[in-house]
Symmetry: C2
Subunit: 349 residues, 2 copies
DNA sequence: CGCATGGGCGCAAACGTTTGCGCAAGGGTG
DNA sequence: CACCCTTGCGCAAACGTTTGCGCCCATGCG
């Protein structure tokens, strides 16, 4: 803020000392190098008085450490990722690190570019929400000289620590909830096939089905991306099936939004004509025309835990890479209709 | 990505040249310093083959330019700011700059700290969404050696370029809309008093009132922050007034959310028992139990224009600081009830 | 043949730190 | 008095660039 912090040299000159001595006095190396207490105190006092703080660029050059972490995110404007970014930014400050933010715009090519740039900029650590379709470009990362943590989407083949929601468990709970309410024809609005999140959620859905002995019908799965418009199109398609599904399960928040549009357009009503469950909770969810039942992810925890792992590793601990699953929570509202016709609902377990 | 880019020195050594020559060949200074075309081409070929790219830290140290811009935001997890951050991040990439992100957590103290840190890190420009309560700590910025742009909240006294929504016009349009529908007792849920956004929105509201000759009643204004809970409490208070306001005007998206909660709790229904207009549009707005009429800000434009101004100035143009107002748009939905009792509605102009 | 001219490139300093090593002075010991 | 140890600190190199200045060699001209 004030007129440019003075340099180490300037401080040294004013005290008739060498930059060496000043540096050591300020870095707690005084004892190690036998700087007298008197000198150290004098240095520290002047430094404080002049609001000195070492030039991070010069320091970075010398130390090959920049007190900076890189954050690569597919889309910062998506509230989900925005909250992750928020938590990480806050955690970074706690660890006196800055955050270099990149937005890969859901494109692998930009992701590659961003990672390269961040590595060249000598970040001390990297948190990555991969676009998620492929991982070949990530394969050098486990051998990078800095720790890397994956968030949200993971690649089992990759030796990198990852933090993800318990997508499988969350989806299983949602589908189980629908089954309990007597639904048997459940349409699924999926996201980007090939991503771990999508795969796990589908797997959870299928697990719940087969646990109840309900056959899985691929014709009831539609969609090809996590974006709203894909949700709209997929929902419209599913709603035209005959017999119509009695419930839709949207595997993402934007997909749910698209579904709502398609349902309104049909026009149908939730939950009378069709039930709806969505992955991702949302502040507005309770106030929708039909407050929608959701699988809430603990987004804050995702960001927090990722940052924790990263800074642990930056701090030196070099544990084996492990993926951490953050639990989800089913938030029941009023978008699921109980089908009275079905005798076996609420069967024990 | 690959094993650390080689250094200039390494390239020079491999070609039997000096780092000087290599540097000039790569920076387009070849002609200026009479490097032969043959040499230049050889350098460029090898550089490309080895995927060389100059160490940004070293470069930053020497040049006192880092190809980095700082971004200070009160709360990245707020979708409004997240979108601004998104646009700026994208714009920065277009200009080959990186973004250092700070989250001030709506605290002036943290904002001060963040600005200081970014300046020390030698960012080439700074985009700031000020917390907005005070501006003394910003007063050195107009004299900083780098350009600074304010977004969302501005300080008239400060000689800094600023980009804000047309808050006054937007609020005026909203209130006018309510007046047209016959409402006279309009409760206002305000945000943080003292911020320019809040002040301008209130001013717009009052302008619309007085244009219609409706007196302004301070008792109908409640609230003390832009957060949801403040909206909830303020709405609850206003809803208990007798006679009850016939409409609420929430001056922010989270305030609207709080209002919805308070209305549901009352319990009242929108728009039958109470009308609602909110500042800030939202993807879920159309799907609420009463699709809510909103004043939509062009958030993308806010971010884009801010980035434009910043990079123009980084590029050298040192125009006088000017504040740019981005137009808002009234999105009419179904949360406003037309009060039939009132004869003078839809009066011309 | 002497000199100016121009082409092609390198020297060395600088940016602001950190750090291995070593130097000088003073005090104690034999 | 010679030696060693301790205390207190500085030298200089290094990190990887960029840049003002100047060097050297050919060539052309008179």
């Amino acid at each position: 803020m004030r007129n440019a912090s003075p340099t180490l040299k300037a401080i040294a000159a004013r005290l008739g000392l060498s930059p060496t001595t000043v540096s050591r006095s300020l870095n707690g190396q005084g004892a190690r190098y036998r700087i007298s207490d008197r000198t150290q105190r004098a240095v520290q006092r002047l430094a404080r008085r002049l609001d000195f703080s070492p030039n991070p660029i010069a320091r970075g050059l010398r130390l090959k450490k920049t007190a900076t972490v890189g954050l690569v995110i597919p889309d910062v404007s998506n509230p989900f990722f925005a909250r992750i970014a928020h938590r990480i930014t806050v955690a970074a400050r706690d660890h006196r690190h800055s955050v270099l933010l990149s937005d890969s715009q859901e494109q692998t090519a930009l992701e590659v570019e961003a990672i390269g740039l961040l590595l060249r900029r000598q970040v001390d650590g990297l948190i990555l929400c991969p676009v998620g379709l492929s991982d070949e470009h990530l394969s050098p990362l486990p051998h990078a000289r800095i720790p890397v943590v994956l968030v949200d989407r993971c690649f089992p083949g990759l030796a990198l620590p990852a933090v993800t929601s318990d997508n499988l468990g969350g989806a299983r709970a949602a589908t189980r909830h629908l089954l309990d309410a007597g639904h048997r024809r459940i349409g699924v609005l999926q996201g980007l096939p090939g991503t771990s999140t999508n795969r796990d959620r589908i797997a959870g859905h299928r697990a719940a089905l087969s646990a109840r002995g309900v056959p899985f019908d691929p014709a009831l799965v539609a969609g090809d991306s996590f974006l709203e418009d894909a949700g709209f199109r997929a929902a419209r398609r599913l709603l035209r099936l005959r017999p119509r599904p009695t419930a839709l399960f949207a595997l993402g928040n934007l997909l749910a939004l698209g579904a709502l549009r398609a349902i309104a357009e049909a026009p149908l009503r939730v939950p009378d004509d069709i039930s709806l469950v969505a992955f991702d909770d949302h502040p507005y969810a309770p106030h929708l025309s039909a407050p929608v039942t959701t699988v809430a992810q603990d987004v804050d925890a995702l960001g927090r835990v990722a940052a924790e792992i990263l800074f642990e590793r930056i701090g030196g601990r070099r544990a084996a890479p492990k993926t951490r699953a953050i639990p989800t929570r089913l938030v029941e509202r009023r978008s699921v209709k109980t089908l009275a016709t079905n005798p076996e609902r609420k069967q024990p377990t």
